[in-house]
């Protein structure tokens, strides 16, 4: 087989893969949307569509690493709330905003390290630890702000979240693009990324092969906490005010995007490209549904169905493929 023959086949295989399927779905959604509304393809609408969920999709990047590593972090949304509430609480007491921002990020680092300690060092299941902290961090956020809503931040802070920084792009979107590049490089092209996959595939084998499992997991949870805190602070800047129940329930949307991107909930497989496509699909789908006046609740339901179908359809396809190949082989065996 020559090289020339292999390349088209490789492209074909790519298209048959999950990412290829997602790409087709995305193109269909974009086509339908642009036929529905002429406003859809405008630059402003395209940027808006990102901005409306920018905090979630920033956290999705970190969650991809965590789930590929065969763990889960349910506490991210609570951490977003906690970081924002820390900022508001400090601001209320006269701390300058830059210092409050730094402390908000530090809270994310510490919270992530706290999760990581119980998961990586003590060895408790991450589902349980982060479930407890989903309640715990949210509780702390409520302790800080009780039932108040705090706004009135300096103008530059509100502008940071609401106005464009470079060209038409606001700061959060630029940060997201930087994080995407970082995530792609680290996960797909670095040694650390390989470790993330190897541990996700088989933790014991990774440990016996000399991978520092605890350190990798610790790093991931600290990163997850920090990025969640960053997203929470950006959310505060975009909304211009902070409440104790900010970002409540975001963890489900975030996990949905990662799983739809083809990352196995059991770890070890999936890629950042699939997740990026899933992000685009969900954002464009929600935007398209909004354009035809479908309410938020129905949108959530549709995405729930999509999540289930994303695993069910390949399973059914595989089932039929197996039955077909069995039917093909059995007669040939009996005729021998």
């Amino acid at each position: 087989m020559s090289r020339e023959e292999r390349i088209p086949r490789r492209i074909l295989d790519r298209l048959k893969s999950w990412e290829g399927f997602l790409l087709v779905v995305l193109l269909v959604i974009i086509t339908v949307n642009s036929l529905q509304s002429p406003a859809y393809l405008s630059v402003q609408n395209q940027i808006n569509l990102f901005i409306l969920s920018i905090e979630k999709i920033i956290v999705v990047l970190a969650m991809t690493f965590i789930i590929i590593n065969a763990e889960i972090d349910l506490s991210v949304a609570s951490m977003m709330g906690l970081a924002a509430c820390t900022l508001a609480w400090l601001f209320e007491r006269g701390t300058p905003v830059p210092a409050a921002l730094a402390i908000g990020l530090l809270v994310g680092v510490l919270g992530g390290a706290f999760n990581g300690f119980w998961i990586a060092r003590v060895g408790l299941p991450s589902l349980v630890v982060t479930l407890a902290m989903l309640i715990g961090y949210r509780g702390l956020a409520r302790v800080l702000l009780e039932d108040r809503s705090i706004g009135g931040f300096p103008d530059w802070f509100d502008n940071m979240g609401q106005q464009a920084l470079v060209g038409p792009f606001p700061l959060a979107l630029i940060l997201f693009f930087i994080l995407v590049v970082l995530a792609v490089v680290i996960l797909q092209y670095s040694g650390f990324g390989r470790y993330v996959y190897v541990i996700g595939n088989n933790r014991e084998v990774a440990r016996y092969s000399g991978v520092r499992v605890q350190r990798v997991k610790m790093t991931l949870f600290i990163a997850s906490g920090t990025i969640a805190a960053l997203a929470g602070l950006l959310f505060a800047a975009r909304l211009g005010s902070v409440r104790g129940d900010m970002a409540l329930g975001f963890e489900l949307d975030i996990i949905t995007m990662v799983l739809l991107g083809g990352v196995s909930i059991f770890g070890g497989s999936g890629s950042i490209y699939g997740v990026l496509l899933a992000i685009l699909i969900i954002l464009n789908l929600r935007n398209g549904m909004s354009l035809v006046n479908i309410t938020g609740h129905v949108q959530t339901g549709v995405i729930g169905v999509l999540l289930i179908l994303s695993v069910l359809v390949p399973n059914i396809a595989q089932y039929f493929r197996e039955t077909l190949s069995r039917r093909r082989t059995i007669p040939s065996v009996s005729s021998d």
């Binding site: 119980w118 003590v122 060895g123 408790l124 299941p125 589902l127 349980v128 630890v129 479930l131 407890a132 902290m133 989903l134 309640i135 715990g136 961090y137 949210r138 509780g139 702390l140 409520r142 302790v143 009780e146 104790g244 489900l252 996990i255 949905t256 799983l259 909930i265 059991f266 609740h297 129905v298 959530t300 339901g301 995405i303 729930g304 169905v305 999509l306 999540l307 289930i308 695993v311 069910l312 399973n315 059914i316």
Partner: protein
Amino acid sequence: MNALIRRLRPEQIRELVLVLIILLTILFFGTQIENYYNARFFNRISTSVAIIAVVAVGQTLVVLTRNIDLSVGSIVGFTAYFVGQRLADNNEIAPLAAVLMAVGLGAAMGAFNGVLVSYGRVPAIIVTLGTLALYRTLLVEYSDAQTVLTADLPAWLLDLPRANIFSFNDLDLRVLVGGMLMVVLIFYLILRYLPFGRRLYAIGSNPEAARIAGFPSQRIVFLAFVLCGALAGLAGFMFLARFGNITVVAGLGLELASVAAVVVGGVNIFGGSGTVIGALLGAILINLLENSLIRWLAISEFWRDALLGMLILLAVAADAVIMSRVRDIWAHRALEEVEPDQYELESEGSGYVT
């Protein structure tokens, strides 16, 4: 102490520790809060435990098979609203019919989860994350932003939460609580003595081995989801009875509360071990702490969730530490039992050398 531990099964140790912690909690708050031991407090906690414990029993069945059901909160909300609305439309519906309607509706929703998990081979966390959103959406669409009002409900339903099986001084055993205890007892017996119950454990501790042993794993996991849905439906009915006013946010967050109860109750999140008694104790402990912390004057109400999260974590960490100790002791016992043989072999070996 060690001798005692060896006599007990691991679940029993877990449950004893939980009972001990619950007693210590009650004693501690008794010294902190004036007039802590009164009947109203007991009644309030027992009624709110009733609903969460029924959901937690269903959750236990599913978690035992190495799965999870995150849609229970939405099922509780949907059944509470649906049955509430039927009853508001037609006050003549018999009580038993209303309960059966709730249970049946819940079972149907559980069956949908179960089909996808066991026959569609979609991981439970994905299916139920999807149906968590889907069932809630159905509720929002179905309700059309209307609320079920207490005033429209039949009188027997409104009296139900205050109805007693018996009372002792001011200490009441409510019908709802009695029903919950029945559910726990029934499922305790099923899990302990019926083949179906034992198979849940077998599938959870080693799905591959269970398959090779010829268990109809798919059907059993499917049934676990149906039962979990049915129990969530029953809890939906109890929710309706207790609160009367049902909006679209009914039962929101119950999925996490039930998982928390199950986990604190010592049911292994990776399947194969745990009991419904443990889940009940977990639910009691969480509720007791929640309600006591509010009344504890030293802290504000807003501290409740922050402390609750830490306590769940500590309960699980303590459980892990204690269980690994117990396992050591058991391993020791196993060693002691084989020791005579080993000794013989060793002496034979040394004899051979000399």
